[in-house]
Amino acid sequence: MNLLASKDDLIRWLDSLLQERIVIAPVRVQEQTMFQPISKVEEIAFDFDNTTLSPKGWFLPPTEALFTVQRDDGQVNLVPALVERDAVVFGLHPCDARGIALMDSSFLQEPSDALYRERRSRTALIGLACRQALPECFCTSMGSAPDDPSHMDILLTEVKDGYIVQVVTEKGKALVPKGLAKYKGKVPTPPKLQAIPTMEVTSAMRGLFNDPYWERLADRCLHCNVCAYVCPTCYCFDVRDYSDKGKVERVRSWESCQSPGFSLTAGGYAPRTTKGERLRQRFSHKFLYFPERFRDVACVGCGRCVKACPVNIDIREVISDLQQLTEVKSGS
């Protein structure tokens, strides 16, 4: 059953959530729209098309302490990082909720990542259906849709009189304010997206693993890592110790397989020394290794990497090239 929240209802609702939880919402920061913890509802940017970064950073922060090392009289004590408060991520689109579900596959698999698990279980997702599709969007080709409630706790859809409130999970149900009217109107038709054919991308990736295509594609790659930075499903990380003024922390931070040092061993050996091999690693992880481990392709079609890449390496073109090259190979 759908409910209706007027714009005022929504603001009051968010205000009350803010009293008891951390609320992470899209905020305009200079030219970017970023998910950030807010201190008042007025900070929220409601009129955004897509956020610059996905909300993955709430669950896997760009940099976070895993524990602190304390020394008292020579006695070492490791103090684990805490997840202190419940939270709500507000305003994420269906593609980003799917991105979180894909990260769950790895981080919640035993032995599960405790901090991630704790944040995940203490955070509710109140999503926003997409009003329009952007030129780089292709979520419908990657198992999602502009109005897909999967992986959300609550999905809101903007209409003339406010927002349709679709409660998806029990966790979401507990957050809905009392007294909202039933929504009896029509649910707006979601925007149409250009579909890209994704058939057999996993077997095409395997078949073309040793193709010269990767070096050619990587010729123009600057290995700036922005694709991994903006990607809702890139989750590789680094772990290091930091000491500052006597405070010692073990810190985890985002890292990318596009960095030359990513897999460099102590003995000086690196399995991927060329840009082509490293770019292939990015697409192999998404289209081959991840689906072989966890079933789904590790891409949600948000289009952020398409928009952000300074040299126009377009994941949609890569998918289509893989399919065409496979056809050419099998035809000859």
Binding site: P80, S112, A114, F237, V239, R250, F262, P271, E292
Partner: protein, 277 residues
């Protein structure tokens, strides 16, 4: 609330540090918690992540024998900031241990076979518990040939154990160095050439090999020339593990996660990886 995190190491005390070579130390480490110590089950070939708090964490093979739980041993070569800090620890100092991780050498499957152990430099470290386990159950195996190479005589690891290895029945230890010195009267040759010269038979044999990539590459060629099949050659891969949990993806090679699927693989398995290490 603080979740029980697999990233938090067990605290341990450095009991003893022995200088094995100019840049390699053998660390003997005791886990502080008696319950964890008693339940720390591991097998030859498995690894652990050692923490030098303030510098970081790095993976090392466990080089002691599995029944030895009060003094876990690690051979640490000084090569970066973490290994330097681990080497600078004094007996009584605290360090961290996470593990054991990964698979192991399936030594039970090799019973009744001739075993050839080929190690270069610090590559002997993961092979040491293999040798000692075989010697412990000497009757279960046929001939044991150990080829141990290093850059110079000073760089040969586990020298104090050579007499035991040499005296064991049906066991042969062949040492070789790239460059000798005044005292050295032994072999001066590269490991692959020693393999070629000694020409161990592939019949009913398993070759276990670990060392620098270039030694492995040329040694594999010699073993294949001698008739060894890829399923008779076993190695352990070095990879940059940061988590040991199959999550950080740093040790991902082809479709494998070395920390979870390895580090021990047969050459036959490796040749089927999409990407060659």
């Amino acid at each position: 609330m603080a979740p029980e995190s697999p990233f938090i190491p067990c605290l341990a005390t450095l009991k003893m540090a022995i200088q094995l070579t100019p840049d390699i130390k053998l660390l003997s480490v005791e886990l502080e918690d008696p319950d964890i110590r008693a339940s720390f089950d591991y097998k030859p070939g498995q690894f652990a992540l050692l923490s030098a708090f303030g510098e970081g964490e790095a993976p090392f093979g466990i080089v002691s024998l599995p029944q030895q739980r009060d003094g876990l041993e690690f051979a640490v070569r000084r090569i970066g900031t973490v290994t330097r800090a681990l080497q600078e620890l004094e007996p009584g100092d605290t360090l961290g241990v996470r593990g054991p991780f990964g698979n192991w050498f399936p030594l039970e499957d090799y019973e009744g076979k001739n075993i050839i152990i080929i190690g270069g430099g610090i590559g002997m470290a993961p092979l040491r518990p293999v040798i000692n386990r075989i010697l412990e159950r000497r009757d279960n195996y046929q001939e044991l040939l150990i080829i141990n190479g290093a850059r110079t005589p000073q760089d040969l690891v586990f020298q104090s154990e050579f007499p035991t290895w040499t005296k064991a029945p049906r066991t042969r230890l062949e040492l070789t160095v790239d460059r000798g010195d005044e005292q050295w009267k032994g072999r001066v040759a590269l490991v692959p050439d020693v393999v070629k010269e000694l020409a161990p038979s592939p019949d009913n044999a398993i070759a276990i090999i670990c060392g620098p990539p270039i030694m492995i590459r040329f040694t594999l060629a010699k073993l294949r020339n001698l008739g060894f099949k890829d399923n008779q050659i076993v190695t352990t891969l070095e990879a940059k593990m940061k988590c040991g949990l199959g999550k950080c993806a740093r040790c991902n090679i082809g479709e494998k996660y070395v920390c979870q699927d390895g580090p021990v693989f047969t050459l036959e398995q490796i040749s089927q990886f999409l990407e060659q290490p």
